[in-house]
Symmetry: C2
């Protein structure tokens, strides 16, 4: 990207004031910027007016301005001598329930500079959205949750800036994408009605808010773009994902699948968008399987099983000794266990095939994935029959939702041009494995595209061009949300999808189980 690829930084040379043109400082500057940006409205803070005359004159009216876009107008977020070369940064934030990811950008070019992540400190209050919302009903509960996430962000911002020899004051614009509840907690808004029928958020489209009002310690005039939601169960993280996938620009119909606690699916093209979300169970987010965890150093993210020896070949992030397994690892594992005949079509462990890897703990079958002597924890890393059962329910829910949403518009999954897979661990999901267990439909593999962290990707885009802000509103206004009608038909489909890969194996012609007879 070339220098000043974004519209946020404008360098202007103003005509110095004279008796012939005694326009005030502010209007002199705004007129020039309005004509540069071709906009009728730019707002300027009182705090900036206070320092404007000296900056203009010290810089001899050659100045560099930082701008951002609000709903109805542009806003001036900073001004300096054109010769000033202090960094001007943006910060994209994926505000996850479990994990928060930050990406620092050069605001002039839109180019990413550095990333970091931290566990959402609200986890000390409750692991999931429901427990946190209940906590807000205690005295100061909302305040506590709000302060935890804001303090976490402030700490991470300092560290991330330090790594680039920046100061937090160099951050002038932020974009934050999170689910509806996380966004409410971040803004200090009462999430009480999100989980109570008829499930009403306080706000759908928060727009742009001053960082200061949110308690963020960045430039005092920095602005924060907060992604809109469609409702309590379709949040800004997904809107960001749709933006990042570009499916709303596609001539042919595509789908975006976000794999997590909820199975969230958006289907559409340049003419229409339809979305659907349903509980997929927590199996895919780590945290439920006894060895499950979110992706991080030492976590198993890929597994293959030698069909001849049934030896596990594991890969961990950063090649460290294994500490646990994340979602993409669980999917790989289940696929390999199924393809090698170690579990049956119902996902049940077959001790006769698994042999010495099987343990019985508290009356429940476990399979040892990494023996204690090879693990970082000093204990066996195992997956239990309960973990596998949970995974089967999750994958069945995902497949049923995909079947339902495509059916609702009268197409089959086979007709989809592109199939985007997102999620915090989405970058690692192996479509081959997901197809093998029947979680995703059996399409030619090249139709699958991993988006990685699409929420962070969308947040990044909101810092790269104002046109994306319009597109975000456009996406939000255009998505039709399909309420999942969990009726008998849905339950029948769900039951059929609870087999590996499916009751109807004709749907998965490419999945061939190895007739392991060992």
């Amino acid at each position: 990207m070339s220098k000043n690829a974004t519209p946020w930084i404008q360098t202007v040379s103003l005509e110095a004031p004279s008796l012939k043109d005694n326009t005030a400082d502010a209007e002199r500057l705004l007129q020039a910027l309005k004509s540069h940006l071709k906009t009728p409205a730019i707002d300027i803070d009182l705090s900036l007016l206070k320092i404007l005359p000296e900056i203009l004159r010290d810089a001899q009216f050659n100045i560099r301005c930082v701008l951002f876009k609000e709903k109805q107008q542009w806003v001036l977020a900073g001004i300096a001598d054109a010769k000033d070369d202090a960094p001007i940064a943006g910060l994209a934030v994926d505000l996850g329930t479990t994990r928060v990811v930050l990406r620092l950008l050069d605001l002039a070019t839109g180019r990413p500079l550095a990333e970091s992540a931290f566990d959402n400190p609200q986890e000390t209050i409750g692991p999931d959205i429901l427990s946190r919302i209940h906590f807000t009903e205690k005295e100061d509960g909302l305040k506590q949750l709000n302060e935890l996430i804001v303090a976490g962000l402030n700490k991470a911002i300092v560290q991330l800036c330090d790594s680039q020899h920046f100061k937090p004051e160099h951050i002038y614009a932020l974009a934050v994408a999170g689910n509806t509840t996380m966004t409410h907690l971040f803004m200090g808004l009462n999430p009480r009605w999100i989980i109570r029928e008829p499930y009403i958020p306080v706000v759908n489209n928060p727009g742009v808010i001053k960082a200061e009002a949110l308690g963020l310690r960045v430039n005092p005039r920095a602005r924060v773009f907060i992604f809109p939601n469609i409702g309590s169960y379709f949040g800004g993280d997904l809107i960001a994902g749709v933006l990042f996938s570009r499916i709303y620009k596609s001539e042919r119909t595509c789908t975006l699948v976000d794999v997590g606690t909820n199975a969230e699916v958006v289907l559409g093209n340049e003419n229409w968008l339809i979305a659907c979300a349903g509980a997929a169970g927590p199996a895919l987010e780590g945290g439920v399987t006894r060895m499950g965890m979110t992706a991080g150093p030492g976590v198993i993210d890929q597994i293959s099983v030698d069909p001849a020896t049934l030896e596990f070949n594991i890969h961990t992030i950063d090649d460290l000794p294994p500490t646990g397994i994340c979602g993409s690892g669980v999917i790989d594992l289940a696929a390999q266990l199924f393809l090698t005949g170690m579990i049956d079509v119902r996902g049940k462990l077959l001790p006769a095939v698994c042999g010495p890897k099987i343990r019985k703990i508290d009356g429940l079958l476990h399979l040892v994935v990494v023996p204690a002597e090879n693990s970082a924890t000093g204990f066996d890393l195992t997956i239990s029959q309960a973990d596998l059962d949970s995974l089967i329910r999750s994958k069945a829910a995902m497949y049923t939702i995909i079947e339902t949403i495509t059916g609702s518009v009268g197409i089959t999954p086979q007709e989809l041009e592109s199939f985007y897979v997102a999620g915090t661990f989405g970058s690692f999901i192996n479509p081959e494995s997901a197809i093998s267990i029947g979680m995703l439909p059996d399409l030619p593999r090249d139709r699958y595209k991993s988006l990685g962290n699409s929420s962070l990707g969308g947040a990044t885009m909101a810092l790269q061009s104002d046109t994306y802000h319009d597109e975000i509103d456009h996406i939000r206004d255009r998505i039709t949300y399909l309420e999942l009608n969990v009726n008998q038909d849905f339950m029948n489909r769900f039951s059929a999808a609870k087999f590996l890969p499916h009751t109807n194996t004709e749907l998965f012609p490419s999945v061939k189980v190895n007739q392991n007879t060992k």
Copy 2:
């Protein structure tokens, strides 16, 4: 005015949310308000979002909203149960260099409720604009001046609200009209460049600012409309005056004259507006004549002189023993002295006529207006020859400016349909007296209209309808400012105007001097 004559208060009944319509609280409210107000854009503060869900539900979605207009959008400043009958007030402020006047309004009807005034506490720093601007160049000088006026306003607001059994929190909207320097000091903006060529303000059109950001202790979400200026020497007080005079709506050409330290004249009609300002000298503002002061209890505001006995018949405000004389009193006095032959056509005291009323103090002639035994001070209240000389210069400047501005558009003062006279003491100026001394042109008396405090009147209008906000911008954009070219021609006119009523007495056919031969 009927209830809810203004657009600021809207009572809406929202459809309660349902599974069929899960629009968020904020958007549900804003959609209703947008359709009521026929506006595409209404902004809502984060602080209001935080309390919105509870208010909506406690009020069963029947609510009363307080709105105000910003440049590009409306803003929600308050929300309460529709059954809540707490007062909703506005505050108009005339931010004078010498005196600050407040008017409390019912924001629903636009009806004035009460008024109060206080001396601008910045007078402890310096009596005039120039001395205050110089003071801002000291360390913390601007901060001190800003804090003085803000603290003065906050104190006066509490007292004014107390008198109506209101709380300052009941004030949701303010409109402030002041000259360019006073407006800068009130906003905490550096006025340094206002008095230095080419005389550049920091801002021409401050728009609407949160009261909180300005340090005003009213409702935390209250908004402050600040009148725009045209430049350093044509401030928001005059724009407010033009609004109040309505001359910009008149088919026929009218003029507005603001009498004070500056002689400020606006001439125009519905098609064009031209303005001119020039130093008129301080004689008319009190503070210069030894007995001069601003209008207040005990101050002489009207004087007549018995042509036969030359006895003074004085009137004081509130009929209290006299303490001094204000501008309108000085004009009356000079007119009466001239008409009774106690001063000559050059404004010189004639001892032979004045008789025992003449004193010589420090070699300078003085005329006793109120002898010590009748004054509230225990001293003679006198007017000196120097005071009279100063008044002559002031009145000559005013007349010359009127002559110049009318001449610039090729008309004579006689062609003016209406002649509006404003100023803090404008309500008391007797046109007869002003004409007698040749300060104002000799027109039929019914063309003169006293506007009183037109700055406060305009500020009041800004709280009565949003359409006035558009008209204010319209006025500001339309006024052509005529730079006074103090050339030989101007000086000749000025010299001719330094006689009573004028060198050319044909210009003042109605002024007949009493041939007093006593």
